[in-house]
Symmetry: C2
Subunit: 342 residues, 2 copies
């Protein structure tokens, strides 16, 4: 059946990755190429709309950060086989499935700077192709045959859904405690980062302590990553972010920048946040006003400081591993996660 | 955490099932009660919206037909353990997840005679809780620990999604061949019936031939079941159907009654179908006209005849098993599948 796949998917090139990811991509070039081949081969279906829609999002220039973590973790643990390639593809399928469902949930029109799949193919197809990719991920894991891997990734999948539902519940609710917001991002984002890393240790048959260290690296990295994403939503220009700036504001999403600005705000400022985020009553000038209030209350700076803290914790988790080029590259990724917010 | 569950979920009673299912439910009463307890216990989450929404659909008086098939298949194979209970719960979770996503896809307002979950809780929550239940199903399978069961149900999950996408692609397309329609219903409905039955044979560690026989029973039963559903959508009153009559018509869904009426129709009749189904241009009187044309072309009768053929094939697949009360009850279920269309 097949579907035309551009060169970017079939032959990933380091040049397409942000500078700070270059070293990691170069070190894992053969693994990543194999992973991309697996992704293309296994997203196929006789129902041609499935590979068409999947290619739209899988080929849309994602950084492959999560599968790279699986590949890197396995190699860091001295693994010399091929199982990690298929499992990295599983991780990307689960991630892609959640993106497809997220965009339906958020009614987003942009994803990675391109029209989102739901905007092009409709919500119905996005929900169903997400389901397909999710099921296909489990088929790949079954082929791999490790119940431990299946346990890690099925738990992560349930945790992601819990985080997403919790995010829905906290929407528009400015009384959300910061700890609850962290629970949301641990679930919706960091759980898969953690699982992606842990799976690498598991295929290498390393000790539980090393698997836990890699899981902690991924968890902290994922939290830092999402914190920066939430800061960028109020700070970056559209080209950097690859999605519409102010999306979170318009959706009334409760993120740390909003919580900081709200909690530190005067009564008048709080009234503004209650109207725009709490009651979703917004006019066109409100986003600029929101950005101004965030600047005044140091909301972005505080969010990025928090992110730096988690990135530092991520790096500390790698101390258990001997020095190597791969370990250095992973430490750089932790730094990049924060430094991409310029 | 927990959520208040009505007596119908905690203590399923045979009286709530259609007459023809009574015997099966009575024979499996203890198993079904255990399965329902597992469902309630394992749909729980600290994110309370999840069990609330799940209870809305899980407790909404479903027949539990698919988990009953798993329980029955295992016992028919002489299984005396407890694993089938958890796997029957998996099957119901997968089914429930697809229902939640279906209702979002179809924008249905009714499900089993009650307001659908998306109508009460919104599309976003329905998508995400569906994802949660799907992930939870895989967690339960991992706890069970059989890679063969995981293979059967992950393949079924992928096939369901393929069937649903194919249905989306054929929507409004009156040139859809009957074989393609059958492919849709094999995927979206019958694959899970087949897998539910096959899993029962697998836990009982029976021969591949017996597993294949039970899978064939489920597959044919599922096709018959969906054919009758598609007939009922144009024939039953709302109380029997538990959903809005004419839903398929309004959605431009390509089902056998429509294909038969279209293919046997005059030019004028075909124009009617092209306008109402092909171009989705409908006025309020069109459903009655559609029902009249179906009556004239014997579309419902033909559909039910086809269903009877598959029900007969389902029953034939059970010939490999010695006579028993349970086997009789399963044969009756095949008959009931067709006879519920009165």
């Amino acid at each position: 059946m097949g579907v035309a796949i551009g060169p970017s998917l079939a032959n990933p090139s380091p040049a397409e990755h942000p500078d700070a990811l270059n070293t990691l991509v170069t070190l894992l070039e053969a693994d990543l190429a194999a992973c991309n081949r697996t992704i293309v081969a296994r997203m196929d279906s006789p129902v041609t709309l499935i590979p068409q829609l999947a290619a739209h999002i899988v080929a849309a220039g994602g950084k492959r950060l999560r599968p790279l973590l699986t590949l890197a973790a396995a190699r860091l643990c001295g693994y010399s086989g091929e199982r990690h390639v298929k499992l990295a593809a599983c991780v990307e399928f689960i991630h892609t499935a959640t993106l497809l469902h997220d965009d339906v949930v958020d009614e987003s029109l942009l994803r990675r700077g391109l029209a989102s799949a739901n905007a092009v193919f409709g919500n119905q197809a996005s929900v169903l192709v997400g389901d397909f990719l999710f099921a296909r991920a489990f088929q790949l894991m079954v082929e791999d045959g490790s119940l431990m891997v299946l346990a890690i990734l099925s738990r992560a999948a349930a945790t992601i859904a819990e985080g997403e539902v919790l995010q829905l519940v906290t929407q528009n609710d400015l009384s959300t405690p910061e700890e609850r917001y962290l629970e949301v991002i641990r679930g919706k984002t960091a759980a898969l980062f953690a699982a992606a890393c842990e799976v690498g240790a598991v295929v290498a048959e390393r000790s539980a302590a090393e698997a836990a260290a890699l899981s902690a690296f991924g968890m902290n990295l994922g939290i830092a990553f999402q914190l920066v994403d939430d800061a960028l939503d109020y700070g970056a220009d559209q080209a950097v972010l690859g999605k519409t700036v102010g999306d979170d504001f318009r959706e009334g999403k409760i993120t740390l920048p909003v919580l900081v600005a709200y909690q530190a705000g005067t009564t008048v400022e709080r009234d503004f946040w209650q109207r725009t985020i709490g009651a979703s009553e917004q006019s066109t000038a409100d986003l600029d006003r929101a950005l101004g209030l965030m600047e005044r209350r140091g909301a972005i700076r505080t969010t990025l400081e928090r992110a730096r803290g988690f990135a530092t914790a991520a790096k500390a988790a790698l101390e258990a591993f001997p020095d190597s080029a791969l370990r250095c590259a992973l430490l750089d990724v932790a730094d990049y996660t924060v430094s991409r917010a310029r």
